[in-house]
């Protein structure tokens, strides 16, 4: 069943002070099935974040439309949970209060808020930190809270914009396993933007490679690796084969992207 349909979505940013308009995204079409975990892989500046922001409703497409369960998307809403690359926890709220933000907005009764937040605090391993403020947490813990905050709303789809991009390698690997564990348990539909090839393969059942600007979908590769996945999978020959292929695909685009900067 199609959960999310991206239909010929493109984005042109108007030129600033007489300069040429920027074509950030060529028309992109994509059908996301229920329970899909799709990673969108591309060089920086390829418009992958723009695409995600359009799905979130934070940006408007120049052409095309986005349908979530058949309903057109025009503005942000709690049915599409999002985790950003930058740390976006509310600094004046504690971990628990951050996680309950969306629930409070929905006027969920306090007792139920507590129960839900308890569950997600447990799931992202933040028990004992419920009453900490974001400033008192490490980057990894902040992103885990952000993930719990998005999940607590029980969105139809989870949008992740390089959520582990600012973390160090070890923390990032642990976060991948944590997220994958959550996905394996709940099978929530996920759209995950990254420029990390290992991450893209390890997490996904489908990898979309995007071209350098203006971005369009270059190829769509199904990742046929069994679940549950364990970090040791990253050293198997099957994984290496996917990695070799994607490295080749992305390398061409990275070179093009680098040339575009000149």
């Amino acid at each position: 069943m199609t959960k999310l349909r991206i239909d010929n979505v493109s984005r042109v940013f108007p030129g600033v002070r007489g300069s040429e308009p920027t074509r950030a995204l060529e028309p992109v079409s994509l059908d996301v099935a229920d329970n899909d975990f799709i990673t969108i892989l591309g060089p920086s500046g390829c418009g992958k974040s723009t695409l995600l922001r359009i799905v979130a409703g934070l940006d408007q497409p120049t052409t095309g439309s986005v349908l979530l369960e058949g309903q057109p998307v025009s503005q942000p809403g709690p049915d599409r949970g999002m985790v950003f690359q930058s740390y976006t926890l509310f600094p004046w709220l504690t971990v628990r209060e951050n996680i309950c933000f969306g629930l409070r907005e929905k006027k969920v009764p306090d007792a139920e808020q507590r129960e839900i937040s308890d569950r997600f605090i447990e799931q992202v391993g933040l028990r004992g930190f419920e009453n900490h403020y974001p400033k008192q947490l490490s980057g990894g813990m902040q992103q885990r809270t952000a993930l719990a905050r998005a999940l607590a709303n029980d969105p139809k789809i989870l949008l992740l914009d390089e959520p582990f991009g600012a973390l160090d390698n070890q923390t990032r690997a642990l976060m991948q396993e944590l997220l994958l564990g959550i996905w394996e348990a709940s099978r929530k539909t996920v759209l995950f933007v990254t420029h990390d090839i290992d991450e893209a393969i390890f997490m996904a059942n489908r990898v979309l490679v995007m071209t350098a600007r203006p971005g369009r979908v270059k190829c769509d590769i199904t990742i046929d690796l069994p679940h549950p996945r364990h970090y040791t999978m990253k050293t198997t020959p099957e994984f290496a084969a996917y990695k070799a292929r994607l490295t080749e695909e992305i390398r061409v685009e990275s070179i093009r992207a680098a040339e575009l900067e000149h």
Partner: protein, 259 residues
């Protein structure tokens, strides 16, 4: 101690802070008691203190102090009640800002003290006139500074709140307001300091009571000791209110003061 940005210990900080006061009084005492400056122009510290004690014991100066504090706080609270919400609305909604901003920016430069003759005409020399001076002096400053602070809120937090289901009122009340609250408190602390200058100016002209009125009276008697003591009392009250404001902020916004 002279390593850039290196913190000093709290004990040393206190000692250094007090040291300057000591130095200040020493220099003042030196030039007055040493006869460098004639007492007609500048009373010595002991004389000022004596005058101050007489003011309290014989002239009921405490009533003047109380009245002045009441005027400052009253005028300031009235100004804040109007200015803070309007500033928040201007910061949050660009249309509201476009409507008010040019006028407020203009009004901000109107000197409050220049309104005093006009205000005496309108409101007499009673409390209404005193409060009006302070309100005029503070309200536009608060509006603009709050608007700038709220307008500079983190856009990524607003976006995050939208993806969590927040709409217009939720964004203003649950993101912009709490995010800007500590800085708004700082703005109020700052403007309260300015309000003190307005109240004294208001009391210098056409007043029957207050610290400013006492200073004016003392000038007629050429009592520089009393004048200096009055000015010092204002400084002291400012120091205390500043301290209380800071403590209250730390209590109200603990998250803002983490590291």
């Amino acid at each position: 101690m002279f390593e850039p940005l290196q913190p000093v210990s709290p004990g040393r900080r206190t000692v250094l802070g007090i040291l300057f006061f000591v130095l200040f009084f020493a220099v003042w005492g030196g030039i007055t008691l040493g006869g460098i400056v004639p007492p007609l122009f500048l009373a010595d510290p002991l004389k000022a203190l004596q005058s101050g004690i007489t003011l309290f014991t014989e002239h009921g100066f405490i009533v003047d102090v109380g009245l002045t504090i009441w005027r400052v706080v009253g005028g300031f609270i009235i100004a804040a009640i109007f200015a803070v919400p309007l500033g928040i609305l201007m910061g949050a909604f660009k249309g509201v800002e476009a409507f008010f901003e040019p006028f407020v920016s203009f009004a901000r430069y109107l000197p409050a003290s220049a309104f005093i003759p006009l205000l005496i005409l309108w409101a007499g020399i009673g409390e209404t006139q005193k409060l009006s001076v302070i309100i005029i002096g503070s309200v536009f400053q608060i509006i603009l500074m709050v608007a700038v602070t709220v307008g500079g809120s983190r856009l990524d937090l607003v976006e995050a709140s939208k993806t969590l289901g927040a709409r217009r009122s939720g964004i203003v009340l649950r993101v912009l307001l709490p995010g800007a609250a500590p800085q708004i408190a700082e703005i109020l602390r700052l403007v309260l300091g300015w309000a003190w200058t307005y109240v004294i100016v208001a009391e210098l002209i056409g007043a029957q009571s207050g610290i400013g009125h006492m200073i004016m009276d003392s000038q007629r008697l050429l009592d520089t000791g009393q004048m200096i003591f009055g000015i010092f009392i204002i400084g002291l009250i400012g120091l205390i209110s500043d301290f209380l404001f800071k403590k209250a902020n730390q209590r109200l916004f603990p998250w803002y003061f983490i590291k």
